[in-house]
């Protein structure tokens, strides 16, 4: 049981750190892209076509806020996983959030892949595929490891 506990704890910590790292890296990539291909990034973030060409500061700030929120979201998920691993998490609210997020990322890929839409650039899709799918894998590790840890802790408490 101890070995299983340590294994799940380690996986949870490392996967939590990975989620944080992926979040920061994805944000950095978006910022880099803003320098070279601002229009495409803004379209990706959901801005209207009319706003995309506008150089207004407001648009840039809004884009920055969205990117910032994404980083904070990843930080929340990763940090919660780490705290859960060391036993300092009472309400594991992050688990359903992680599940919904992971499902969302995965299904959006499936949708884009099979949508046969003209505007889908498979090259761009592939580029972000690797890290996004690994993020999904990390989220799955987090969910499974957290569940296992909870079970082991319960058994230990009973014994």
């Amino acid at each position: 049981m101890d070995a299983a506990y340590r294994k799940n704890q380690t996986n949870l910590i490392f996967s939590g750190i990975a989620i944080i790292a992926f979040g920061i890296w994805s944000a950095l990539k978006l910022i880099f892209y803003m320098g070279t291909n601002r229009a495409a990034v803004l379209m990706n973030l959901g801005f209207m076509a009319a706003d995309v060409d506008s150089p207004e500061l407001v648009i840039n700030i809004a884009a920055g806020l969205i990117i910032g929120f994404s980083v904070l979201f990843h930080l929340f998920l990763g940090w919660s996983a780490i705290r859960d691993a060391i036993g300092k998490m009472r309400f594991r609210l992050y688990i359903p959030i992680a599940a919904i997020y992971g499902f969302g990322v995965f299904s959006s890929y499936v949708d884009e892949l099979f949508s046969h839409r003209v505007d889908v650039t498979y090259g761009t899709l592939f580029i972000s595929f690797i890290i996004d799918m690994t993020s999904v894998a990390a989220l799955v590790f987090i969910i499974v490891s957290s569940k296992n840890l909870k079970k082991i802790r319960r058994e230990k408490a009973r014994a």
């Binding site: 996986n11 490392f14 890296w25 990539k29 880099f32 291909n37 580029i127 890290i131």
Partner: protein
């Protein structure tokens, strides 16, 4: 080392040396080549880490970290390749960090060897100091694409020479059965 491996090593080192010399001859126009090579290096490093994870590290305590590292490096390489124009300062910063780390390690190890009074520390100290000097030059010429090419070319030449020496090292492999 078998004959095939030796031949491959010699070919690889000749290619590396040729690239290094080419870059030194025309550093001004070599910046894009440097970026391409660096990005390929990142992709290869990422792939190697991923292969290492699946073949070896997944059986080891905490091995999952290699999976995540590999993915990050691979993604960084692919991302950089996809950019139309990588700003010089990013490339130079990357080179500076790599050279500082490599140079620092060489200097520390050669210092240890010097303290233990063995004769082999001087060459390693020269390599380490050379790397550090290159990284200082990089800081001075932070925004110069020409200097990126020069610094990278020098490191390529060093790598090529080391590989050539390894290729010609005496083999002492075969043993008598007990």
């Amino acid at each position: 080392m078998g004959l095939t491996k030796r031949v491959l090593n010699v070919i690889a080192s000749l290619i590396i040396l040729a690239l290094g010399v080419l870059m030194l001859l025309d550093p001004k126009n070599s910046y894009k080549l440097v970026v391409l090579l660096l990005m390929i290096t990142l992709i290869v490093k990422g792939l190697r880490l991923l292969v290492y994870y699946f073949k070896m590290a997944r059986h080891t305590v905490g091995g999952i970290v290699f999976l995540y590292q590999g993915v990050l490096l691979l993604d960084a390489g692919i991302f950089a390749l996809s950019l139309d124009n990588v700003p010089v300062v990013y490339t130079m910063l990357y080179l500076i960090v790599c050279m500082l780390v490599a140079g620092g390690i060489d200097v520390m190890r050669s210092n240890q060897a010097r303290i233990m009074e063995t004769g082999k520390w001087k060459l390693q100290m020269v390599y380490g100091a050379g790397n550090i000097i290159l990284s200082i030059l990089g800081i001075i010429f932070l925004f110069s694409g020409t200097w990126v090419a020069i610094i990278y070319a020098v490191s390529l030449l060093h790598s090529g020479v080391c590989r050539m020496i390894t290729a010609f090292r005496k083999t002492a492999v075969v043993y008598i059965g007990g």
